[in-house]
Amino acid sequence: MTDLFLVYKNLTRKKMRLFLTCFAIFIAFLIFGAVSALKGALDSGVEMSADNRLVVINKINFTQPLPFSYVNKVKALDGVKNVTHANWFGGYYQEPSKQLMTMAVEGATYFKVYDELTIEPENYTNWMKNQTGLLIGERIAEQYGWKVGDKIPISSNIFSHKDGGHTWQFTIQGIFKPLDQKTDTSYVILHYKYFKETQTFGGTSVGWLILTTQSPSLNEQVAKAIDANFVNSAAETKTSTEKAFNKAFIEQIGNIGLIIYGVVFMAFFTILIVVGNTMVLAVRERTKEIAVFKTLGFSSMRIFKMILTESFLLSFIGGLLGMVGAYLVVGGVSKGLAGILPNLLIGPNTWAQAIGYMLLLGFVTGIIPAINALRLNIVSAFSRA
């Protein structure tokens, strides 16, 4: 009890310094938490991909179309469980700058392939019956405050409606929800058939195919079979796992992401070093006092523990406050950014890492002065002054 009181007294002897040191640690961890959340959000597409899901794209590039006939050809191959397809609509709501991720899909198979999404059976039936029906993801529903039955216009920056203009009218027939909250639902889907019938280019091409295999162990075999099937045709394919596809997409953003993390983490550690330096000096100032403690009969071990406790306490006060701050900031902006950056949250991994760094900071800054105190010779400490 008395030891803790002494630690408390030592910590608070210079209130200004305590505040400033805590504040610097607070800032370091605030940034660490927020940037880790950002990184996690960017990587979440990769993490949430299903093991047995493959994506088939045109070999030239995924923006090039595939013939519709490929859907049935792929379905006929061994090891393929379900196949569905999607077209990029280039959607936006009201203003071209308010992009809305919109895809034209085949309703009958879409939810078989994306079985981590759920929807009320009644809503689904209604959607299947309504050509101009639209299903929206839960995140979109939250972001725009849309409800089932709402009529909304969606425009395309690529396609024109054959009645003129680039805007389609849709009725929201349902909201699909994920089984796992981290699954991205910030997009809307409409009927492929309706899309093809109402846009000016016509044609029957699809954007890309998504399929599930009977088992993840068949992935490679199925992917090879698909690509071999279309080799030397007008539209050659490239089949990859959903994970690899998402990863390649993130890589497109490039090492810019890497630079951000590099720079920010460098800063994080620099702040810790600077703060650590202050903490080491703060204990060194007290050399004489420690000699007094020893003279009074405090054991070296007891002083060693007291100094370490002090540095851990300081590191954890600042660090935990910083992480709570990051939690509040991330929580505050995640709703506004749901459209661009879904899954902005501080995961358990980040918390664990943060606690690891707090322990490290507390240990590194405490251990040198603590060992010095342990070894301190009373006589030489007094004579030094």
């Binding site: 050659e236 497109q252 490039g254 951000i260 600077v274």
Partner: protein, 394 residues
Amino acid sequence: MNSFLSQSFAVIRMNLLSLPRRLWMSLAMIIASAVVVTILLAFLAMARGFEVTLKGAGSDDIAMFLRDGSAAELNSVLSKSQVDLIENAPGIAKDKTGVILSSELYVIVDGIKKTSQTAANIPLRGTSQTGIKMRQDFKLIKGRLFNTGTTEMIVGAGILRQFDGFELGKTIRFGKNKWQVVGVFSTGGNVFESELWSDYRVIQNLYNRGSSVQSIRAKLVEAGDIKQIKEYIKNDPRLNIDVETEADYFSAQGKSLNYMAIFGKVISSIMALGALAGALNTMYTSVADRSREIATLRTIGFSNSSAFVGTLFESLTLSALGGLLGALGAFLLFDGMSTSTLGGSFTQVVFSFELSQDLIVQGMKMALGIGLVSGFFPAWRAARMPVLTAFRTE
């Protein structure tokens, strides 16, 4: 006044000379402000480099036509009859062969990025001899131009820096079609260097585009003047087309990485608060360390304002050193660094970080801001320190 100056100089000199005594704390402050400046400059240089790369591509005397609402070349489609109508628009320059106009296509193909060895989007632009002539900075570095009607292409210098397999003489397969690289070109570092160019008619044919194109570029009679053309488009219901100068188009595209600059400013400002806390610690320690000195000076008649100036100057010196160090660090680490990212047209834009002077000035301002705030309060304490108590502290 004179004595204030000479006193201040004396105190400043003493403060600076006593710095080695507080070596670690002083270094901590220098490093903290250096890191803040490096971070700020890294992000600003990134956004600036991207913006310059796109802005540099746009010319004021070229009008650019896209389907209305499409916002980027990739999304746009224009029919042959629309192209014919635009050819008759007023305000477009002519030479011996007719109007100076280039119909272009913009399709995306895969390239393997050197850094990640994964496929990334590169634009394959269909253009023509006229189109090439319209790019004023165009220069063939190696090889020759593509021949009309063949699957030959020329490759931008930026593509060669960031992607594998596009070297001169190589044969490239996009799906079923084989292409020959017959030349390498530069456009003075702007975004066109991140592209592959070939004959637009060949691309129309191979990519089933019929006779449609995606964008039209036309040389203006008078630079920047698109009023007549706008009027012409408005009066013809067949023309659902947006027109703007190429300069405006690219400067809008160049803004798409501005969020990086904003992100950098936000994160470095937050970090500056952390650095400020560290710097205040340093300066308070410095004042405490010199308390006897200050008291002595006051006793022999130095003014308290000279103590104030001395401390403030010390802090500004440390933070300015940090700022310079940070700018140097950013310069060595990032300036000229070539990278690529997804641009507004959904394709890779190869660009270099650009640490220009005005950005360095911004960085120095931030460092001096840290120095000013972290010096002010401790300097205040130094100036008001009661002489007696200062002597009493050992």
